[in-house]
Symmetry: C2
């Protein structure tokens, strides 16, 4: 059968393009997940990705979502994160070095960049005899008391995103 506009319709997502570059077989499901990911500004977990995907096309199973994020992580397209909610969450790998601040009261995650940490991490790795491969920094913080934020639990609320 012919595939109408097989590879250059208006709607090729950024992540789909990365998949193609890496020679991945593009099924409808992968295309869908790629689109959902490309449109996501936050750090969804698999359950959430599945929800967003199903909303667009129900012909996808959660097993496929698991298999796909795993594949994309292996291909360096996604990075797996752990913000403490018990579920792995995913972040696009090509957004440049950035870090996360988690609001311990609300669980919201805020991204930030700071070039100084990179240099510091590099230096420390070298001091210990390693070359820097990657590094992660998570800051847990509490919004300055503008109202009255009661002292919350030590363990942050299940992380959610700022969106």
């Amino acid at each position: 059968m012919d595939t109408p506009a097989s590879a250059d319709r208006e709607g090729i997502s950024r992540i789909e393009r990365m998949c193609i570059e890496r020679g991945l077989k593009m099924t409808g499901q992968r295309r869908l997940i790629a689109r959902v990911l490309s449109e996501s500004e936050d750090h969804p977990d698999v359950e959430e990705l599945y929800r967003r995907a199903v909303a667009q096309d129900s012909r996808i199973s959660i097993a496929t979502v698991y298999r796909t994020v795993r594949l994309l992580e292996e291909k360096g397209i996604l990075e797996r994160r752990d913000f403490g909610g018990g579920r792995a969450r995913y972040d696009q790998a090509d957004r440049g070095q950035h870090y996360h601040l988690i609001d311990v009261d609300t669980g919201k995650v805020i991204e930030f960049a700071d070039p100084r940490h990179q240099a510091l991490a590099q230096e420390i790795a070298a001091r210990l005899g390693f070359e820097l491969v990657d590094h992660r920094l998570e800051i847990f913080g509490r919004r300055f008391p503008e109202g009255k934020a009661p002292p919350g639990p030590r363990r942050p609320a299940k992380p959610q995103d700022e969106t």
Copy 2:
């Protein structure tokens, strides 16, 4: 019954003392876990803690280990860590601020301290309108090629400890 030398025998572990300070009921199992933890220089997961505990006294179940580390975390005696191996790992909370470097080839974890990060994290939190509650830094590195370390997988080997 009398407890011979109830609270000042040679063998009260550091963590047991912290438990007592916080008014926890000290059972044989808790004492044992406290001792195992106090003697651990690394970052064991629950399975490993269980193994070490059973080796000293088999009258303990893994459910109790889970319940106990959870309790100790709530009491601020332990901190839960995630180094990517799929299992939670535990670190004594009172060792001062320190960070971890994970060897991506071997999975070994090395601790280090660096006061500059604390200041930086503080400053960043403030800039974003938060007060600093906690922060974590993990560096993933590869030992400098003294032999020939082939480029390994992106995901580190299941973290093990340096011990």
